[in-house]
């Protein structure tokens, strides 16, 4: 009790500028806070993708059996990748729509390496469902591409978002044609 009374008196005596003791409190507190934050970081970071998950997995796909107008799904990094061998009409429609009112403007050319092969990650940019349209019997939405049933997003024949709550076009993964009939994704 007596001690705290003394401290108070000393603190009060130095007025608004603060005392050496105040400085020490703040400095020690700040050190403690920064130290704790630094110690916390490894724990938070441990939840980020680990080295084995990051080790870039890639898949090779043989395209020989694919018919014109056929769409297939392959798994890459736990996600579906859509491969679409587009018909000339679908390509023409995609290119004609370059100038349409696009929520996420992108030309069809920027989305393909060869116009006949549209390769995209088949994950709706709204909340991550897999859009329908891979099977010929699936609904393909108002623009002949893909339709996400979860909350009603419509994608066109270039995989661009046209209508619905999704904000972005279906993403294009990294890929390379190894030869005319083989593609490596990732």
């Amino acid at each position: 009790m007596a001690q705290s009374a003394v401290t108070h008196a000393a603190g009060g005596g130095h007025g608004a500028e603060g005392t050496r003791r105040d400085f020490l409190y703040i400095a020690a507190g700040a050190f403690g806070a920064v130290g704790t934050a630094l110690a916390l970081w490894p724990f938070i970071n441990s939840m980020n993708p680990s080295a084995d998950v990051l080790a870039l997995s890639s898949v090779e796909v043989d395209l020989t059996p694919m018919q014109l107008g056929q769409r297939i799904t392959v798994a890459w990094r736990g996600k579906p990748v859509f491969i679409d061998r587009r018909t000339p009409e679908q390509i023409a429609r995609a290119q004609a729509d370059n100038t349409a009112d696009l929520p996420d403007p992108q030309t069809d050319k920027a989305r393909v390496k060869k116009p006949e092969w549209l390769i995209m990650v088949g994950v709706c940019t709204h909340l991550g469902c897999v859009p329908l349209g891979q099977k010929a019997t699936d609904p393909r939405g108002d623009f002949g591409g893909w339709f996400c049933p979860c909350h009603g997003s419509h994608y066109d024949t270039s995989g661009r978002i046209r209508k619905g709550p999704a904000p972005k076009n279906l993403p294009i993964p990294e890929y390379a044609f190894l030869d005319d009939n083989k593609v490596r994704i990732g």
Binding site: I44, M47, N48, P49, S50, V53, T73, A75, R77, G78, K79, P80, V123, H126, L127, G128, C129, V130, P149, C150, H151, G152, P165, A166, P167
Partner: protein
């Protein structure tokens, strides 16, 4: 206070009890919180649901710990381990159905508990912090239930996890890194399942901690009551034990009857059949719905065409409850004496049910329109109606004491006597 405190029970004079109590005053504490704790004498059955929620929390923890002894948190084994619990583990089917439907019963109890609070103005001074702690419990429960639903690794588990974690991608810049961090990969996968199991085990115990704080806050100013005026003296109160312990136990019997009826006769009534199909990352089920207790919030999310604003509105619909004590400007607590608020209370309750119904349906056509109107009403109720009502509504005259309405005019001499002494 000395007047209300019941005499110490005989066992407190036992030397053993005395020896322990001197070193750890556990018996004094229990006696004080349960026996002496003076409770308004007019609590009705809507006051049962707090203790029911607490008992459901215990049921969830006990059944969960036993399930965890048989469950395998790995994408290749999780689904089959749950099926093994259902078919091979002794009484496994019972324990799993208790846990599965116990979650629903827990939410039923808590939602009734919350609407009780809305009707009787339980959130008003001096119980604002008590109210906040309750909302924190609700948020933790939602997180826990969501995490638990992912564990059986069926189609709804997987796609529910995908859609809900993707909500965070709505935030600009930090969104995508957060989602990757939540997943521990590039999609919902084994790392996600592992951490969800770890957190599903942890959060219920965090809830226990917040419940303790909730009770400390409750016991600081005592329970509210249906007429909403403060207790004026000992004639307004009775000891919690045995009066309310008995009333709570009776309610528990009825509640467990309903619970048992569901567990034994309709255990999958509230579930989605799709969750008995193993998770398939390449195919989304045609119709994704969350568990019923999250449907109203899901409806709010979907009724707004922008992704970010939809997410903000969904979280906002819960966070708005934190400022409710200040949005409601009326000094009168109980809706019994607020004729206009009472109407809006029921409209709000209907609005929440409508939102739940919309959440279970696809967001198209009329559903979309009704969903938007119901969402608008939800926020209108809190942001416009409640603040204005406090000014414009003319409350009915309040009784002068709790005893007055209970004893029809305060005629009873027996009840009024202690007041004269106090």
């Amino acid at each position: 206070m000395a007047n209300t405190s019941a005499p110490k029970p005989a066992f407190m004079n036992n030397p053993m009890v005395k020896w322990i109590d001197y070193r750890l005053p556990i018996f004094t504490f229990m006696h004080h919180e349960l026996h002496e704790y003076p409770t308004p004498k007019n609590l009705n059955y809507w006051w049962n649901f707090g203790s029911l929620a607490g008992i459901m929390l215990v049921v969830m923890i006990v059944s969960g710990i036993v399930l965890a002894m048989h469950y395998t948190p790995h994408v290749d084994f999780a689904f089959n381990s749950v099926e093994r619990i259902m078919r091979d583990v002794n009484s496994g089917w019972l324990i799993r159905y208790i846990h599965m439907n116990g979650g629903s019963m827990f939410f039923i109890a808590v939602y009734i508990h919350i609407f009780r609070g809305l009707y009787y103005g339980s959130y008003k001074a001096p119980r604002e912090v008590l109210w906040w702690l309750g909302i924190i419990i609700l948020l933790l429960m939602m997180a826990t239930a969501f995490l638990g639903y992912v564990l059986p690794w069926g189609q709804m588990s997987y796609w529910g996890a995908t859609v809900i974690t993707n909500l965070f991608s709505a935030f600009p810049l930090i969104g995508d890194p957060i989602v990757t961090w939540l997943w521990g990969g590039f999609s919902v996968d084994n790392p996600t399942l592992n951490r969800f199991f770890s957190l599903h085990y942890l959060l219920p115990f965090v809830i226990v901690g917040v419940v303790v704080l909730h009770l400390v806050a409750l016991h600081t100013h005592g329970s509210g009551n249906p007429v909403g005026i403060d207790t004026k003296g000992p004639q307004d109160k009775i000891p919690f034990h045995p009066y309310y312990t008995v009333k709570d136990l009776f309610g528990l019997g009825v509640f467990f009857l309903v619970f048992a009826a569901i567990v034994f006769f309709a255990p999958n009534m509230l579930g989605e059949p799709d969750n008995y199909i193993p998770a398939n990352p390449l195919q989304t089920p045609p119709h994704i719905v969350p568990e019923w207790y999250l449907l109203p919030f899901y409806a709010i999310l979907r009724s707004i065409p922008s992704k970010l604003i939809g997410v903000l509105a969904m979280f906002g619909s819960i966070f708005i409850l934190f400022i409710l004590p200040w949005l409601d400007t009326s000094r009168v607590r109980s809706a019994r004496f607020r004729p206009i608020y009472r109407i809006f209370f029921w409209l709000f309750l209907i609005d929440c049910v409508v939102l739940g119904w919309i959440g279970a349906n696809p967001p198209e056509g009329y559903f979309l329109l009704i969903g938007r109107l119901a969402t608008a009403w939800y926020f209108l109720h809190f942001l416009i109606i409640l603040p204005l009502l406090g000014w414009f509504e003319r409350p009915l005259p309040l009784p002068t004491s709790i005893s007055e309405p209970v004893l029809k005019g305060g005629g009873s001499v027996a009840a009024a006597k202690p007041m004269e002494k106090a």
